[in-house]
Subunit: 406 residues, 2 copies
């Protein structure tokens, strides 16, 4: 199940200098596309954000080390096994994977970044993975985005991608990306997996900052089930193959590029929410005029995580009392209940400390019947606003997570 | 659905000086016992703890005021309507209820404490409630515990009670109590509703402290769905009708009494978890040798609230990777992954930063197959331990909260 129609673009624009190749290693399911190799050209810069889970998986730890030591030339992704909670053996397996890619492709081992996603705590079948590398290498192509989008999926029901182009002073700039994720989604630095490439040139330090800023407006603002993965990673590659350089010296271009990056990353993040495990609703939660970013985010995420709000959303039940109860327990210091307003879409449900005088059940019901729902909490005490995106909690969520080991 | 067999005692010992009377007002469901009046004798002291939800309901606000202004003589409880989120009208309705009890029973209005539980945000049908008061008054009896346990239920499937007696220097001391709660359970001061009476004499300030301490070992350590109610309240009454005075001057008696109080309140709290909405498992989560109480509680509650852990519990799936992932995201500063151990029952699942070398799936499965499951996280970094109790997340939880307005 997933919300709305698929948002995967008809056209995934190629990014010169960034190639993707997909193969089948049979890591968990025979015949499934489960290995993706990505090649990055020489002149590129690379930025990454990674999970803050203390138990971050061996490949994530190695990614961080390699990213710091040299410019990355290859990403190697496998699904079906997260290589997390696997101790020293898992570390060795991730290193072996990098070495195999390095030998095959004639680069240094520390220019290879490994990514694994799937079940936690089982040994990575590293021989299977390595045996699929030649096929993945042979498949490398700037047009490999759609196959790669399929190759990085686990419990997802849809491929996820976004692609935009804009012109600046007569020159074309391209940004294209893919993501995957459906459960264990409450990223804390990045989504499960995201890869975005662009053909502009950008210094690494600025690229990293742009990625962090965009992540905080996209992947770090979504939640399906409040669980932060051990393997979340998001990578941004600037191949420098177009004739455009993004820098702080050209604020107009920087702003254009930054907006496009945020837009594409929001699209990729929203696609994860729409494909959230068991999702039947796509829910936007805006907390407005808060005093601090912390209280805005806590209130928004508390609503997004409340099982009672999520089951009411599943039922299309305008049970506004449950939303009010969550705002009440969000630990907002000196909250003025009389100043607070809560809206379902455009319908005011709470004002003056209780149900809004003009509210009718029919008006609330009309908002809740839709597949896309906006919950807006106006605290009327400051200038900070934050938005997060989430799903409902359905029978299918329980089935997906209780009936199968994932 | 509920876990295990009912723990309601065969014998609820009467507490001299504390009477309970139950009646039907048809507040939500015609014929249902939904009004309970409790009478407290002259010499008693009364203590209370209340929800920390900022949107605490009108009756809770009035309870706090009245408890502070004079010694309480009557509790009046209704189910079917929480009188929460009802603004000034709700306040007036709660005051009118107190006045009606006061007029009927010949006491001051501020010696009456009102309690409401049920749906949030709908007007209390106060005339119905008031019309049932004479019947409730006529039913007042020291043997009214069992009927009252039924009269305070909402979505609960079981009555909940506990009763103990102990002898001290040849004198008998009695503690008896009832509770209710099944959903919107993550109390922050008290459960949905709890009433405990004892026949000893205790000064009010000591009584209040004993109640707070016992609450922090019982109702404040349980969670079904992470949602804190707007109406949580727990009351403790000492009627002074026995010949025993509990005071700090007699530490042996104080300790005996305090242990009995914790035991009875844990029994009442556990009964709520066992009857948690859709519950099929009763889960104890112990975090041991933590550095601070805060990190112990955060880790324990994060595990208790994780939808992925809760669905694995429902499936009896020893998916220990999900537990490990939660510990990893619990934001424990400088957590030493290699020192950490995690146990399912007596089976070690995590040590040395990964799956324990001796762990087998069969051993984990045997623990998970049981109805009562212990998850133990040993941080090995300090001297603090905390325990919380929770349920699994089942299809029935979704059905109960999506199919009915509660």
């Amino acid at each position: 199940m997933a919300v709305g129609s698929n948002t995967f673009p008809n056209k995934m624009h190629a990014v010169s200098g960034f190639e993707l190749g997909t193969a089948s290693a049979g890591i968990k399911t025979p015949g499934r596309k489960d290995v993706v190799l990505m090649r990055i050209c020489d002149a590129a810069t690379v930025a990454g954000v990674f999970t803050k889970n203390a138990f971050c998986a061996a490949p994530v730890q190695i990614c961080k080390q390699h990213l710091e030591s040299t410019i990355s030339r290859y990403f190697i992704v496998n699904t079906g096994n997260a290589n997390a909670g696997t101790g020293q053996e898992g570390w060795n397996d991730a290193v072996a994977t990098c070495t195999a890619v390095a030998d095959l492709c004639g680069v240094d081992s520390d220019s290879v970044l490994p990514f694994s996603t799937g079940v936690i705590g089982e040994k990575l079948p590293v021989e299977k993975l390595i045996s699929a590398l030649p096929a993945a290498k042979n498949a490398l192509s700037v047009d490999g985005w759609m196959e790669a989008a399929e190759g990085i999926l686990t419990t997802d029901t849809r491929i996820k991608g976004a692609s935009v182009q804009f012109s600046y002073q007569g020159k074309l700039v391209t940004l294209t990306g893919i993501s995957k994720g459906s459960g264990m989604i409450k990223p804390n630095m990045a989504t499960m997996l995201g890869y975005v490439a662009t053909d502009v040139a950008i210094d690494q330090s600025l690229l990293q900052q742009l990625l962090i800023d965009a992540t905080n407006q996209s992947f770090n603002r979504i939640t399906v089930d409040s669980d932060t993965s051990t393997n979340d990673s998001c990578m941004l590659v600037a191949t420098a193959q177009s004739d455009v350089r993004v820098s702080e010296g050209d604020q107009e271009l920087l702003s254009l590029f930054s907006d496009s990056l945020v837009s594409i990353m929001q699209e990729l993040a929203h696609a994860i929410v729409r494909d959230g495990e068991g999702a039947t609703k796509f829910v936007t939660i805006k907390v407005e005029s808060a005093l601090t970013q912390e209280e805005a985010l806590k209130t928004a995420f508390d609503i997004a995580h409340s099982p009672l709000v999520k089951t009411a959303l599943f039922a299309s039940d305008p049970n506004w009392g449950r939303i009010l109860a969550v705002v009440g327990r969000a630990e907002i210091t000196d909250l003025d209940l009389d100043a607070l307003e809560i809206y379902l879409g455009d319908v005011c449900i709470v004002s003056n400390g209780g149900r809004d005088a003009a509210y009718t059940e029919d008006a609330g019901q009309a908002v809740m019947d839709a597949e896309e729902i906006l919950i807006r909490v106006v605290l009327n005490r400051g200038a900070i606003s934050e938005t997060v995106w989430t799903t409902d909690l359905s029978h299918d969520y329980v089935s997906i997570n209780a009936d199968y080991r994932s």
